[in-house]
C-alpha cells in the first residue's frame, strides 16, 4: 500500500458516506496505520450532500482536512461537481454511474465509472451502494487489502445488524472485482 493516502467520500445524506468513511478508518487502524476520519455536515444534511475525509498514513497525521484530495468517491452529481475540480493531479475518482451522467466526468482524470446502485440492487439490497463504491476504491488504489475492510465490518456494524455483514462483504468484493477487471 502507499505510505500516505487520503480520500474524500461524498454523496446524498443517507447514502452511507459516513459509514464507509468510518469503516475505512477502522480497517486502517486495525492494519496498524495512523488514521483520521472527519465528517463534514451542516445545514445541507437533509437531501443535500454530506462528505467526509479519511487520511491513512504510516506516520502520525497532521491535517485531517484535505482541500485537494488524492482520491474521491462520489455517489451523486452535486458531489462530482464539487470535488472533481479539486482532485489532485494524478488522482483517482470512483464515480457512481447509476446517478451521474458520463459526460460530466472529466476524461483526463483516472476514473472508475461504476453502476453502484444497479450492482447493489443485483446483490440484493439497494442500500449497499456505498459498499460497492468503497470496494471499487480499494481495487483502484490498493490502499488496504479487501479482506482487512471486510473484517472491519465486525467493528463498525452494530450487533443488531450483524446478520447483514455477509451481504456487505459481498458488495465490497463486487466493487473491488469491478475496479480491478475494468481498469
Amino acid at each position: 500500500m502507499p505510505e500516505y493516502q487520503d480520500v474524500v467520500i461524498a454523496g446524498f445524506g443517507g447514502q452511507g458516506v459516513m459509514l464507509i468513511g468510518n469503516l475505512l478508518a477502522q480497517a486502517g487502524m486495525e492494519q496498524g496505520l495512523h488514521v483520521t476520519f472527519l465528517p463534514v455536515y451542516g445545514a445541507e444534511m437533509r437531501g443535500g450532500t454530506a462528505n467526509c475525509t479519511v487520511v491513512l498514513d504510516v506516520l502520525p497525521i497532521g491535517s485531517p482536512l484535505v482541500r485537494e484530495p488524492l482520491s474521491s468517491i462520489v455517489l451523486n452529481e452535486p458531489s462530482l461537481t464539487k470535488f472533481q475540480p479539486r482532485l489532485r493531479k494524478g488522482g483517482v475518482q470512483i464515480v457512481n454511474a447509476s446517478l451521474i451522467a458520463q459526460d460530466l466526468v472529466e476524461t483526463s482524470i483516472r476514473t472508475v465509472y461504476i453502476p453502484a446502485n444497479d450492482m447493489a440492487h443485483k446483490i440484493g439490497n439497494a442500500k449497499l451502494v456505498n459498499m460497492v463504491a468503497l470496494g471499487a476504491w480499494l481495487g483502484a488504489t490498493g490502499t488496504l487489502p479487501l479482506q482487512a475492510v471486510q473484517d472491519a465490518l465486525h467493528s463498525v456494524v452494530s450487533s443488531h445488524y450483524a446478520k447483514l455483514i455477509p451481504v456487505n462483504a459481498a458488495a465490497l468484493a463486487a466493487g473491488y472485482d469491478f475496479a480491478i477487471t475494468r481498469e
Partner: protein, 363 residues
C-alpha cells in the same frame, strides 16, 4: 506503564475521547445543556458516567449547568460541564464566581464559529474569552488546547489535576475539528496522572461534614466571592494574582523541528496540527521551519517561546481575526511577528498554509 503495553487502540471522536478521559480521570458529576458541535460529550456521558457511579444531569440551561458545577466543586467533587461558544458565554457569570471563590471545576468549550450564533464550523475565535478570563473581574482560567483525540483524552487528567491543585476553573478549548475528528486513542491514564482520591484530598477542607463534626466552635467554612469589608476585596485579588503567577510554571507547549528553524510558526489546536502537515511538506523541500504549538493557552508558554524565537522569524497562524498573536507579540518583545488569519467557519487544509508560510520565511 508505557503505551506499548496498553490496551489496543479504539477509533473515537475527540468529543468521545474527552468523555472517556473524564470518566477515567475520576469524574463524579457532569452537568450540561446540549449544543453542537460537542453533543457527543453529553451523549457518551449519559450512559458512561452512571455506569461508573457518577451523576449525569441534563441541566435546564447553561446557566443552571455552571452553577451546578460551582456547587459540586464547592463540595470537593470532580465535576465538569461542556458546551460551545454561545453556551460558554452564558456560563461566564458562574465561571467568574468560581474563580473568585477558589472553586475547582472543568469546563469544555468545543467552540463554534462566531460571533453570535455563528455556525458549527471550526473557529478559534474564543481565544480571548478563554485566556483573558471571560467573565467579569480580574480572573483567569487555566486553558488547555488539545489538537488530537488522544490529547482530548489525556488532557482531561491534566485538567482535573490543575483544577484541584489551584482550586480554579480549567477550560479545555477545542473546536469542530478537534471535537468531530475520529482517530485512534489508547484509553490508559497518561504517565504521572493523579488518582481522583489524591485530587479530592487536596481540597478536603472544602467538604461540608455537618454541624459539629469539627467541633462546635469551629469557624464556618464560607465559600464566597463577595468581600465588602474594607481592604477585603483587595486582599482577595492579591491572593488570586499570586495564584495566577504561580501557574506560570505549568505552561506547556509542543515543539516540532525547532532546533534549526529559521522560521518558527506558532499555532494551536486544530490549526496547530494542520500547520504541522504544511511544515512537514516544506521540510522535505529543505525549508527550515519549526512549529511551536502552545498546549496551555493560559498560562501562555511565553518564556519558552522567547527562547525559541531568538534570532528567528515568527509567524502566527490562527483561525480568527488576530487574538493569540497579541500574546505572542507580548512574549517575544522586539521580534517581528507576522500573522496569518483564517476566517472562522472555513475548512482549510495544509496546502492553503504553504504560501503564507513561505511568505513569512522570506520576510
Amino acid at each position: 506503564m508505557s503505551r506499548k503495553q496498553m490496551p489496543k487502540r479504539i477509533l473515537v471522536k475527540g468529543n468521545e475521547a474527552l468523555a472517556y478521559g473524564a470518566v477515567d480521570a475520576g469524574l463524579q458529576c457532569y452537568f450540561a445543556y446540549p449544543i453542537t458541535p460537542q453533543n457527543e460529550v453529553p451523549e457518551m456521558l449519559s450512559a458512561l458516567l452512571p455506569e461508573h457511579g457518577g451523576a449525569f444531569v441534563q441541566a435546564e440551561s447553561e446557566v443552571g449547568a455552571v452553577n451546578m458545577l460551582l456547587g459540586a466543586g464547592a463540595c470537593g467533587v470532580l465535576a465538569m460541564t461542556s458546551s460551545s461558544s454561545c453556551g460558554i458565554s452564558l456560563m461566564q457569570e458562574g465561571i467568574s464566581y468560581m474563580a473568585g471563590s477558589h472553586i475547582p471545576g472543568v469546563i469544555v468549550n468545543m467552540s463554534r464559529g462566531g460571533p453570535g450564533l455563528g455556525d458549527i464550523g471550526p473557529s478559534q475565535g474564543d481565544y480571548f474569552q478563554a485566556v483573558k478570563g471571560g467573565g467579569h473581574g480580574d480572573h483567569r482560567n487555566l486553558v488547555l488546547a488539545p489538537s488530537t483525540a488522544q490529547e482530548c483524552y489525556d488532557f482531561m487528567f491534566m485538567a482535573f489535576a490543575l483544577a484541584f491543585a489551584y482550586r480554579n476553573p480549567v477550560m479545555i478549548l477545542g473546536d469542530a475539528i478537534v471535537g468531530q475528528i475520529k482517530e485512534p486513542i489508547r484509553r490508559t491514564a497518561p504517565e504521572g496522572a493523579s488518582t481522583p482520591e489524591h485530587l479530592r484530598s487536596l481540597v478536603q477542607d472544602l467538604r461540608i461534614e455537618g454541624y459539629g463534626a469539627r467541633g462546635e466552635n469551629a469557624p464556618p467554612r464560607l465559600l464566597k466571592s463577595v468581600y465588602l469589608a474594607e481592604g477585603a476585596l483587595a486582599q482577595r485579588n492579591r491572593l488570586l494574582q499570586q495564584k495566577y503567577a504561580a501557574m506560570r510554571k505549568d505552561a506547556r507547549y509542543a515543539g516540532e523541528e525547532l532546533d534549526d528553524a529559521e522560521l518558527v510558526v506558532v499555532a494551536f489546536g486544530s490549526i496547530g496540527r494542520i500547520t504541522s502537515s504544511a511544515i512537514r511538506g516544506l521540510r522535505k523541500e529543505g525549508r527550515k521551519i519549526g512549529l511551536f504549538r502552545p498546549i496551555t493557552l493560559y498560562p501562555f508558554p511565553g518564556e519558552a517561546l522567547r527562547i525559541h524565537a531568538r534570532g528567528r522569524r515568527i509567524l502566527v497562524i490562527e483561525q480568527n481575526i488576530g487574538q493569540m498573536v497579541e500574546d505572542v507579540r507580548l512574549a517575544v518583545g522586539g521580534c517581528d511577528v507576522a500573522w496569518h488569519g483564517i476566517m472562522p467557519g472555513l475548512f482549510i487544509g495544509a496546502n492553503e498554509l504553504v504560501e503564507p508560510i513561505l511568505q513569512a520565511l522570506k520576510g
